[in-house]
C-alpha cells in the first residue's frame, strides 16, 4: 500500500483529480445560486484529496498536507464563519451586512427566473467559502487519520 495502487489507477487519478478540485471549488463558489455550497463543495475537494491518498499512498502526499496544517486551516474556517456571524451583531447575529449594498457581493437579486449573477448574496458566499474551507480540511483530516490508522493495523 505504501507505493499506492496500480499504474492504471494512478494514471486515471492524475487525469481526474484536477477536475474534481475544480468542480469542488465551483460548487463552493456558486453555493448561493445553485444546489450545493460550502459543505458539498468541500466534500468534493476532500474526495479529490482522498483519491490522491488512495492512489499514491501517504508517501506521495504527506509532505504537502499534514494533519497539523489541516487542523489549523479547519479552525480558521470555523472562526471565519463565526466571525461573519459576529460581523452583523450591530443588528442581529448572522445579519446579512453586505446584501443589497452594492459593495462586495452586494448586488440586488432580481425576482423570478434569472441567470444568477455571482455578485449577489451578501455574506452568504463568504460563509460558503468559510464552511468549504472547514469541510475540505476536516474531511481530509478524517481520511488521513483513518488511513494512518489502517496502515498501523496492517503493520501490526
Amino acid at each position: 500500500m505504501k507505493s499506492g495502487m496500480s499504474i492504471i489507477v494512478r494514471t486515471v487519478t492524475r487525469l481526474v483529480y484536477g477536475l474534481a478540485l475544480v468542480y469542488g471549488f465551483y460548487v463552493i463558489m456558486h453555493g448561493h445560486l445553485t444546489p450545493g455550497g460550502g459543505f458539498q463543495g468541500g466534500a468534493v475537494v476532500a474526495s479529490a484529496f482522498a483519491l490522491l491518498l488512495v492512489a499514491f499512498g501517504s508517501a506521495g502526499i504527506k509532505g504537502l498536507l499534514n494533519a497539523h496544517l489541516l487542523q489549523t486551516l479547519e479552525e480558521l474556517g470555523a472562526l471565519a464563519f463565526l466571525g461573519l456571524g459576529f460581523a452583523g451583531i450591530g443588528t442581529a447575529f448572522f445579519y446579512n451586512l453586505l446584501a443589497n449594498t452594492g459593495s462586495c457581493f452586494g448586488a440586488t437579486v432580481a425576482l423570478g427566473p434569472n441567470v444568477g449573477p455571482l455578485d449577489t448574496g451578501g455574506i452568504l458566499p463568504l460563509m460558503n467559502w468559510a464552511v468549504g474551507l472547514k469541510v475540505m480540511t476536516g474531511i481530509a483530516a478524517v481520511v488521513l487519520a483513518m488511513l494512518i490508522g489502517a496502515r498501523q493495523e496492517e503493520a501490526e
Partner: protein, 116 residues
C-alpha cells in the same frame, strides 16, 4: 395502492431494516451500517415531505418556467442531517477501529467489560 406513497413505504422499510441490523447483527460495523440505514430512512422521509406534484427544483437560476417549486426547507433539513450523519458515522467508525485494537474482536457480545 397509490404509488405516490411509495417513498414513505421505502422510508419505513429502511428504518425498520436499520433497527433490525442494530438489534440482531453482531458485527460492530454492521451495527454502524444499521444506524446509517435508519438515518437514510429518516432523510428520505424528510425529502419526501417537501415534494409537490409538478414542482420544479427551488432554484431561480435558469429556472425552466415560473411555477410551483418543491419546498426547499426539508431539503435544507436533509442536508444538515446528512452532515450530522457524516460526523456521527466517522466518530462511530473511529471508535470501532480503537475497539478492534483493544479487544481484538468486533463481536458486540464480547465487548462488555462495562456492565452492572
Amino acid at each position: 395502492m397509490n404509488l405516490g406513497n411509495m417513498p414513505f413505504v421505502a422510508a419505513a422499510l429502511l428504518i425498520l431494516l436499520g433497527i433490525y441490523a442494530v438489534l440482531f447483527k453482531r458485527n460492530l460495523i454492521k451495527i454502524v451500517l444499521g444506524i446509517s440505514l435508519v438515518e437514510t430512512g429518516v432523510n428520505l422521509l424528510l425529502v419526501t415531505l417537501g415534494y409537490r406534484t409538478d414542482g420544479i427544483a427551488p432554484i431561480f437560476t435558469l429556472a425552466p418556467r415560473a411555477g410551483p417549486m418543491v419546498l426547499p426547507t426539508p431539503q435544507a433539513l436533509t442536508l444538515t442531517s446528512i452532515v450530522i450523519g457524516l460526523a456521527t458515522t466517522a466518530l462511530l467508525l473511529s471508535f470501532v477501529v480503537w475497539i478492534h485494537r483493544h479487544y481484538g474482536t468486533l463481536d458486540v457480545r464480547k465487548i462488555k467489560e462495562l456492565r452492572g
